[in-house]
């Protein structure tokens, strides 16, 4: 599997996901500069975490207008898988590739900690190495992770099995107490309807090595390699 990682000015988890992909794929991901709309064909495009263009105006809003993201949107339309982590998820909602929006955290503060997530489905490129209902531990680090979508959109997401992860307690029960940002229905990540695009606030690349305290995140990258190789 050949992956590409988009680098915006202000991206700061580009290297982290580069390392995780390198470990999982055994090859070097292509690092794509934000002005570069013509990069080689790849099997997966990753929009990393950070503060693209300073997150001025609105998180992800300016990145969504960049040359490279126009190309990402075009390729996503042709079915190329896209993974947006944290700021990458914000960019994906700003482009309209994923529905809804990410608002300021309910507690109004930046939050960095491990959270528990329930894997809602294993029927995706991204989660094929997890079990549906499995509880995994992944870190978050964001100020704008409060997922909002209107009732109709949420119904559609449920109908088409597009909810990827929900914040949950140790028993796998989604709950407000386990939700760090006030997102609707405790949603932490969602798919597009073809499940070729995943946006999530938590950072799987941060718990992908035992030295860092856990490997629950590595299974996402391993699964992608399995599905896309």
């Amino acid at each position: 599997m050949q992956a590409a990682v988009v680098v915006f000015p202000g991206s700061n988890c580009d290297r982290d996901v580069q390392v995780a992909l390198r470990h999982a794929t055994g090859r070097e991901p292509v690092m794509v500069w934000h002005k570069d709309a013509s990069f080689e064909a790849v099997d997966l495009i990753v929009l990393p975490g950070g503060f693209s263009y300073g997150d001025y105006l609105r998180s992800g809003a300016m990145a969504a207008q960049s040359p490279v993201v126009k190309e990402v949107v075009a390729r996503a339309g042709r079915g190329v898988p896209v993974l947006g982590i944290c700021n990458g998820f914000q960019v994906l909602t700003e482009t309209g590739l994923l529905p809804g929006a990410l608002m300021r955290n309910g507690g109004l503060k930046f939050v960095c900690r491990d959270v528990l997530l329930r894997v809602e489905t294993s029927q995706s490129l991204f989660t094929c190495r997890y079990e549906a209902g499995q509880v995994i531990r992944i870190p978050i680090a964001h100020g704008d992770g409060n997922y909002f979508a209107d009732g109709d959109t949420l119904s559609r997401l449920y109908d088409r099995d597009q909810i990827a992860f929900r914040y949950c307690d140790a028993d796998g029960e989604p709950s407000a107490a386990a939700n760090p940002n006030g997102s609707r229905h405790n949603i932490a990540g969602i798919y597009n309807d073809a499940k070729t695009i995943l946006g999530l606030m938590p950072h799987p690349e941060r718990l992908a090595e035992p030295e860092l305290g856990g490997i629950d995140g590595r299974l996402m990258f391993d699964g992608l390699v399995e599905a896309l190789s």
């Binding site: 700061n12 390392v19 930046f110 680090a141 090595e209 030295e211 860092l212």
Partner: protein, 741 residues
């Protein structure tokens, strides 16, 4: 010769005084110039000779600190200290205060403090890998405290999170002495190739002086002068002197500088910190023994109509000055343009030894560099030693009715409670190398792409420093050394941030001299040199000084990532071994303060030979894989350390006081809560073997109990559930911050 013409008010003694220059200093200005300076020139003198930039009160004493060691590549005097960490790499680090700005405008003050210290480190060619901070606020019940805590923490997070450098450690304390003058000390650790360190000494007359980064605005003018004066009630009026940070630009500046540093285009580089363009260009030229000519109309400005005075004294953030090789100007320009940053050749180096400032072709300032930058004043301020406090006898301190209750109260006290509310607002995991997160003895970050790691910690116990500056200074150094040891690291070197009151008062100067003396003794005994630092004086409001606070930032090296120790109890039924001698010292202790409200007595003695012996032993057993958990003992003594280990591991423990002969055995409360130094708790499967090994090394050690269960059982059957301890420990700070004022 007349001063260069300028449409400015004439400079008089009175104008000089308004710029913070004493009559003697102004007389020296006149002598150096042989004429009256114009306002621009006077402004430059005033910032260069401010306490903040010149260290005029502290220089004499700073020179007495040990700064050399086998690992030291660069000691004090550059932007940051540099220490060899092997395998071709160097650790680059420094700590710096942003106290006054943070009190006036907490978010921006703290944010720009982080930005400034980051620049000091990447200026030297290092990629920053960890941020730490030491924060001291007023009493929780003071009406401003909550607002200041919220603003400072948000500011540190807002900046560090955006630039993408993890904030991995620090300390947060409260004391009424900081009611009118909080302390915000920020530290950055970076890693650079050991043979690619960049320095600030300019070289090569004719080489271009290049300005990069953000545009210059009218913010922060005279920030350095403000930082060199006491506060009063009208400090709010100084808000316009606080700079405004833009972490996004800083992130671009880091990447652009590191990208250019990978080429051979740079001759010298210096960040624009305090006193902005003035200080940076003066230092570069002075260190290189050269002159410089600047065309100020080429300085990128945020707004039209800025005067030379404003440009030279602005402290706008995220700016750097480079000296670039003649044939590499285009290479440099392309890198900064790629990152969308301003790039302007604003002048050239000369051989005149003078700084000549031109605006629209006209000379607006002309100053000799050496007398200003190097011959700045140095004072030997009068000082009086702090009178010795009486020793506190443990038997005079009343024992508690219920030690479990006292322990619960201590864990919930503002100084000792969990600081999770703070560090969860900091991204402490970005860069994906954080091996030990905040909350332990020292933070540990992996050296990227390797199996080695750096450990870092920030420490000081100001109440000890006030009672006995010498002991307090030594204790701060020893505690940081101990915290590095407790994670298994070999301590390498330290950076200091010396925060004191008005040095013109002999008793304050005496605190400074005493702390330095203690630090010097500890640095020597522990082979732990000072490689960088910062002095912050005049931390007073309306004549009330802060506690003397020499914050110590320590850095250590871990050779094997699989041997990092953790504070958390790791398994049921393991032996708990107390390393070091326990005499039950209660003077200046947290116990004394929390149970009686008293802060009197002498701090615990610091036996540096015992520190060294006990620490070397602990580091050895960690490296040998013989311990499963380790924690240093500090505030609150044995009982608090045990509780922290139990809470971190989610595993209880039961302890007994070992039998000693009745003569030397301290009372139970002194044994539990005394703050004797040079002590650790370790756990392991075979406690007796650890004690034997310690005895062979001449280190006092005793098995005092075993892990297990869901409660902490103290001697004489006092039992507290972990749930109750956790509720107390985790509860106080969030509850306090959520209270309405």
């Amino acid at each position: 010769m007349n001063a260069p013409a300028a449409t400015q008010p004439e400079v008089t003694q009175e104008v000089a005084a308004q710029h913070g220059l004493s009559p003697d200093e102004y007389a020296q200005v006149l002598e150096i110039l042989g004429r009256t300076p114009n306002l621009l020139e006077l402004g430059i003198f005033s910032v260069m000779w401010s306490e903040h930039c010149s260290y005029k009160s502290s220089k004499k004493w700073l020179k007495t600190l040990p700064t050399e060691g086998p690992h030291v590549i660069q000691g004090p005097g550059e932007n940051a200290g540099v220490v060899d960490i092997g395998e071709g790499l160097a650790a680059v680090f420094k700590m710096e205060s942003h106290n006054h700005p943070s009190f006036i405008e907490p978010y921006q003050g703290a944010a720009t403090g982080v930005g400034g210290i980051l620049r000091d480190v990447f200026t030297m060619g290092a990629r920053p890998v960890a941020n730490l901070n030491a924060l001291r606020f007023g009493a929780p019940e003071h009406p401003k405290t909550r607002h200041l805590v919220a603003g400072v923490v948000a500011g540190i997070g807002g900046y560090g999170n955006c630039v993408g450098i993890p904030t991995v450690g620090g300390e947060v304390n409260f004391h009424p002495a900081y009611n009118g003058n909080i302390l915000v000390n920020a530290m950055t650790v970076g890693i650079a190739p050991a043979d690619r360190i960049f320095y600030s000494a300019a070289a090569g007359p004719g080489n271009a002086v290049v300005y990069v980064g953000s545009k210059t605005g009218r913010d922060g003018i005279h920030g350095a002068t403000m930082a060199s004066a006491e506060f009063s009630e009208d400090s709010d009026a100084k808000r316009p002197t606080v700079q405004v940070g833009d972490p996004f630009t800083e992130k671009l500046l880091i990447e652009a500088c590191l990208e250019l540093m990978a080429t051979d285009a740079i001759v010298a580089i210096q960040d624009m910190g305090a006193a902005g363009l003035t200080c940076s260009t003066f230092e570069m030229a002075s260190k290189g023994g050269l002159g410089v000519e600047l065309e100020l109309d080429r300085v990128p400005c945020r707004e039209a109509g800025m005067t030379p005075y404003e440009m030279m004294l602005s402290e706008s953030q995220e700016r750097m000055v480079l000296v670039v090789k003649p044939d590499k100007e285009d290479v440099a320009r392309r890198v900064f343009e790629k990152w969308g940053l301003d790039f302007a050749i604003i002048g050239r180096l000369t051989e005149t030894g003078r700084m000549v400032l031109k605006m629209n072709g006209e000379v607006v300032g002309d100053l000799p560099i050496d007398p200003l930058a190097e011959a700045s004043p140095e004072y030997d301020r009068p000082w009086t030693a702090t009178p010795a406090a009486p020793e506190t006898d443990a038997t005079d301190v009343p024992p508690p009715e219920d030690p479990g209750r006292v322990l619960t109260d201590l864990l919930a006290a503002p100084d000792h409670c969990s600081k999770r509310w703070v560090w969860e607002q900091y991204d402490h995991m970005v860069m994906a190398d954080t091996v030990r997160r905040p909350g332990g003895d020292a933070a540990v970050v992996r050296i990227h792409g390797s199996d080695r790691a750096l450990a870092a910690t920030v420490d000081c116990t100001p109440r000890y420093c006030r009672a006995d500056p010498r002991r307090g200074g030594a204790q701060a150094v020893a505690e940081s050394w101990r915290n590095l040891t407790a994670v298994g690291a070999t301590p390498l070197a330290l950076t200091d941030n010396l925060n004191f009151g008005n040095p013109e008062r002999p008793e304050i100067m005496g605190q400074f001299v005493g702390c330095i003396e203690g630090m010097r003794e500890a640095c020597r005994a522990l082979d732990y040199p000072v490689v960088s630092g910062n002095v912050s004086l005049y931390n007073e409001t309306n004549g009330e000084a802060i506690l003397p606070t020499p914050a110590i930032g320590g850095v250590g090296l871990i050779d094997d990532l699989s041997r990092v120790a953790d504070v958390a109890f790791a398994g049921e039924g393991e032996a708990i071994v107390l390393i070091g001698e326990t005499r039950g010292h209660l003077g200046c202790s947290a116990y004394l303060r929390e149970t009686t409200g008293r802060e009197d007595g002498l701090p615990p003695p610091v036996d540096l030979a015992a520190e060294r012996g006990n620490g070397d032993f602990v580091r050895g057993v960690i490296a040998a894989g013989r311990v499963t958990a380790c924690h240093d003992l500090s505030d609150g003594g044995l009982a608090v350390a045990l509780a922290e280990m139990a809470l971190a591991g989610g595993l209880g423990a039961s302890i007994e006081r070992p039998n000693g002969d009745g003569e030397t055995l301290p009372p139970l409360h002194a044994w539990l809560f005394g703050e004797d130094q040079a002590r650790y708790i370790v756990t392991g499967a075979d406690g007796a073997a650890l004690v034997r090994a310690a005895e062979e090394a001449g280190v006092p050690a005793a098995v005092i109990g075993a892990t297990g269960g869901e409660a902490l059982t103290l001697p004489e059957g006092h039992t507290i559930s972990l749930d109750d301890l956790r509720a107390a420990h985790e509860g106080w700070l969030p509850a306090y911050m959520e209270e309405q004022q």
